[in-house]
């Protein structure tokens, strides 16, 4: 807006309101025109894809979901389908919804600040940019036939041999009996959550102090810690799979984690 620079110099008065018409509507109108023109040019230059007619008998390899779901498809590598496709998406949605209720930091309400909200912003940045967006990038550009890793410039060779040496964690450490394996796997998962949440508790105490923890309360802490530890489980699982060829930690007839 033209008169913005001039108006900015004035000290903030209590009544800092301006008329929507024309100050806001004019801006909206101009941005609309600009974006519609850009979209039209874009649509003139780039055609939407149309492949051969649908053929249920010919499965392409790889079949990829729409790009915005490739993060979930990429998680299928590390998790059971019901986990990657149902539990984690639900937790993502619930996790986003509870943000306003677990974030009780009064600072940074309505303006940009990194200093006052360092941990909140870093957490969101980690979840959104590091986990979600990078998973989409990997799924879009680095996955080829058989959902194997390919460099974008590499020839997609469907016969690229994938060493199938992935084993479950209990097997790796020597368990051969089904029930003992399941018990050990369950122990590992529960221990991961207990230790993770305990570490989070002490970390919050160290960074934010006792007074904050009391104000936060056990419910807010519990929900936040659970979501945090669940979120961090993805890089843990990725490490176990890519570095140690571990498929599942807990493997039972119904549930694999």
């Amino acid at each position: 807006m033209a008169d913005e620079a001039q108006e900015k110099k004035k000290p903030a008065s209590v009544d800092d309101k301006i008329h929507t018409w024309p100050h806001l509507v004019r801006g909206e109108f101009l941005v609309t025109i600009f974006v519609v023109v850009v979209l039209t040019l874009w649509a003139l230059l780039l055609d939407a894809p149309l492949e051969e007619p649908a053929n249920p008998t010919r499965t392409p390899n790889p079949s990829k979901a729409p790009w915005y779901f490739l993060g979930l498809q990429e998680m299928l590598v590390y998790y059971d389908p019901w986990h990657a496709g149902v539990v984690l998406p639900t937790l993502i949605i619930i996790g986003l919804m509870v943000i306003p209720f677990i974030d009780i930091n009064p600072a940074g309400n309505g303006y940009y600040t990194f200093k006052d909200r360092k941990y909140e912003i870093l957490t969101f940045f980690f979840g959104f940019h590091i986990l979600w967006v990078s998973m989409i990038i990997i799924g879009t550009f680095f996955r080829g036939p058989g959902w194997n890793l390919f460099w974008p410039w590499e020839h997609w060779d469907p016969h690229k041999v994938q060493a199938l040496t992935n084993v479950d964690l209990p097997y790796l450490v020597g368990f051969r009996d089904y029930y003992w394996s399941a018990a050990f796997g369950l122990f590992c998962v529960v221990a991961y959550f207990i230790v993770g949440m305990a570490l989070f508790y002490y970390w919050v105490l160290r960074v934010k102090g006792k007074e904050f923890m009391e104000r936060w309360g056990p419910v807010r802490f519990g929900i936040t810690a659970f979501l945090m530890v669940t979120m961090l489980a993805l890089p843990v699982k990725m490490f176990l799979r890519l570095a140690l060829n571990v498929k599942y930690i807990l493997a039972t007839k119904w549930i694999n984690i």
Binding site: P22, E52, A54, W82, G85
Partner: protein, 259 residues
């Protein structure tokens, strides 16, 4: 009398006529009162408050992302209705209609392109909007509820895009949707490959995915279901939630630092 004065007189006659005043109640008189009336008495503008905090309208504060998301929604509605005139959601016709639309209809290809790119842009804009709202802490009291509505709108945006993906009925669409809907097959209890499905007796032709597909596999029934979801059901729900979303912004006030 000069021509200019003549035109002025004609203009005056028009804007002061009974008919004109019945439609446009307020002129462009630049008075504070008129500026308020321009917004409150206009069906297109009344979702705006009459006045806003100076802070809230700055482009580098909002990045315009919420408004642009809504604009992309409107673009997909307009182009989508155009496409609906030429498209039949029937297994035998869908792909042929796509080819007809691309090759023979005036502006058909352009409309399809704009529909698709606007949909993709909408997904990106929703994410950036969410990111901006997070960075400015605009979900904090009193705007918690609107953040929840926003999360629901994010989900609906993804579902809108996803259901539209199937409609071209080409290889890309059916296999992308096959992959995407495998999660329904794997859902606990309700999917025939999910955990504990044996307790409710879910099987390939009777489970959550079959409900979504209208059968055990993707077929003509799926196409019709996704078409209805894409063109009627989800846009309707999304429109309702958008009205709530915008209304709450107006009621809770544009965000900005406390004074």
């Amino acid at each position: 009398m000069a021509l200019k004065d003549k035109l002025e007189e004609v203009k005056k006659d028009i804007v002061e006529s009974h008919v004109w005043k019945a439609i446009f109640r307020h002129g462009y008189e630049d008075t504070p009162r008129n500026r308020v009336l321009m917004v409150t008495a206009n069906v297109w503008l009344h979702l705006h408050p009459a006045k806003v905090r100076r802070h809230g309208v700055r482009m580098r504060f909002t990045w315009c992302m919420g408004g642009l998301t809504f604009l992309m929604f409107l673009m997909t509605v307009v182009t989508g209705i155009y496409l609906m005139f030429y498209y039949r959601p029937v297994g035998e016709y869908a792909f042929a209609d796509m080819q007809y639309l691309e090759q023979d209809m005036p502006f058909g290809m352009l409309m399809r392109n704009m529909h698709r790119w606007a949909a993709h842009a909408m997904v990106v804009f929703v994410w950036l909007h969410m990111f901006r709202v997070f960075l400015t802490g605009s979900y904090k009291p009193p705007r918690e509820f609107n953040w929840i509505v926003g999360v629901l709108l994010l989900v609906l945006t993804l579902l809108l895009s996803f259901t539209g993906y199937l409609l071209p009925w080409d290889q890309l669409s059916i296999w992308a949707v096959t992959v995407g809907s495998n999660m329904a097959r794997a859902s606990p209890l309700l999917g025939h490959e999910g955990p504990f499905h044996e307790f409710v007796g879910a099987n390939p032709v009777y489970d959550a995915r079959a409900f979504l597909f209208g059968g055990g596999e993707i077929g003509p029934h799926t196409l019709l279901r996704f078409y209805i979801l894409h063109c009627i059901f989800i846009p309707l729900v999304a429109s309702l939630l958008m009205a709530v979303h915008f209304w709450r912004i107006r009621r809770d006030g544009f965000s900005g630092p406390s004074l």
